[in-house]
């Protein structure tokens, strides 16, 4: 399979690789996929509670090059957006930006799911008030 230049670039120079302490109240963690499916994505956001702006994002991905690129791109897009704006990121935006072929669409879906899961986790923590127990899906 030939990869687009952008996929190759994200694969060679993945942006924002890493992990935050998932027990922190200002961190939302989304972990989606399953090892049996060949893809697991962990995406984390750090949110400024006062402004609702995502100030930092990090990822780790087990999956194909397109999955790695999708999550790397997602972290770039997330930074500087508010939580509500972040919810508007669609997998099709990722498909277009990375020129993913049809068989790789599910990798972008996974990235969208990871964004949503991270935001859900953050919101759940906020709703709960105090730093919530870390939830691993």
């Amino acid at each position: 399979m030939a990869y687009s230049d952008k996929v190759v670039d994200h694969y060679n120079n993945p942006r924002n690789v890493g992990s935050f302490d998932k027990s922190r109240a200002d961190i939302g963690t989304g972990m989606v996929g399953a090892p049996e499916c060949g893809d697991v994505m962990k995406l984390q956001i750090q949110v400024n509670a006062a402004t609702g702006v995502i100030e930092d994002a990090k990822f780790k991905t087990f999956g194909c090059g397109s999955a790695i690129a999708s999550s790397s791109l997602a972290t770039e897009w997330l930074k500087g957006k508010t939580v509500d704006q972040a919810l508007e990121i669609k997998n099709t935006d990722i498909v277009n930006e990375l020129s993913l072929p049809p068989v790789k669409i599910h990798c972008s879906v996974l990235a969208e799911d990871a964004i949503k899961a991270a935001i859900d986790d953050y919101k759940a923590k906020q709703g709960a008030g105090a730093p919530a127990e870390a939830v691993t899906h």
Partner: protein, 403 residues
Amino acid sequence: MKPIYFDNHATTPVDPRVLEAMLPYFTEHFGNAASRNHSYGWTAEDAVEKARKQIASLVGATSKEIVFTSGATESNNLAIKGVAEMYAEKGNHIITAATEHKATLDTCKHLEKKGCRITYLPVKGDGLIDLDMLRDAITEKTILVSLMYANNEIGVVQPIAEIGKLCKEKGVLFHTDAVQACGKIPVNVIADGVDLLSLSAHKMYGPKGVGALYVRRKGPRVQLTAQMDGGGHERGMRSGTLNVPGIAGLGAACEISQNDMPTESVRLRGLRDRLRATLEANLEEVYINGSMEHRLPHNLNMSFAYVEGESLLMGINDIAVSSGSACTSATLEPSYVLKALGLGDDMAHTSIRFGIGRFNTEEEVDYVAKKMIDVVNKLRELSPLWEMFKEGIDLSKVQWTAH
């Protein structure tokens, strides 16, 4: 620079000596081997008969027992369908195994739709079949056992001589797909008790699109219903004008492999073991798939836990290998061979098959090993599973959101 070729189970380059043997039969000696009335035909026929001897010699058969085909897919089809039709009155039951090549499995599926009963034997964790299970599976209705000599993904070599002996005892015909074994390890249809054997030129440094089926003539005399009707070539078993240059190439490939096997197999085993040792010394959490003891000398199949296969291939794009990962397959299913060994899908996704060949060098092995180590380490830094493993989390206990 061209990628280093470590995918010799998929196909092999044509050996220059093989090409040399083929060339005269394109433009100079282009005759039809079936033309009986002039020297063009005789020359072509001589080439075909020479190749028949070379092939027969490699597998311990006689010339008359070799039927030329377009490759092993056709050989397997002819053997299995040919027996099923010819012996339909005797029975309709065929035994094969879950780890066979698609050319065997899909042929059996086809026959299943036509009313045959097929037993797909499971394999043990090391990839070998259980002989007692085979014995128990044979019934009065069984007409054929079809089990491969060596597997194309994990290189595991089945106990062919024991299977042959058992089939003889039970009066059942035995076909083996020996594509990956021929020319690599000693194969002998007499010692192994094989009645039908498939081989293919392009897996042994010959050209693509030509192969052969060995069909036993004595003790028992095996009969087949032709699957290709026409001019009655190959004693009626396979009509069609013979691919003379291809056949000359297959013959030469067999002769070269037979002569070189004692030294070549030792050299390739050395390279394979060197690759394995370097990987194991420098990486944790790597697992060999399939028996190391009953294995082709040039095969290594390893799972690199917590690193998905396609992303691994992407990182080693100057090396040609293949992976059992679903992401690399058109069906998005992980390797059925690895799954048949009882490997979890998670491990199948992280597997890489290395097939070392005649033209690979020690420098290449060292390069591949180093590159693999670098890329695996890099991708593990990226892997949430690796992170969890390092934190001591039991991944099998995590509730995943499968999608």
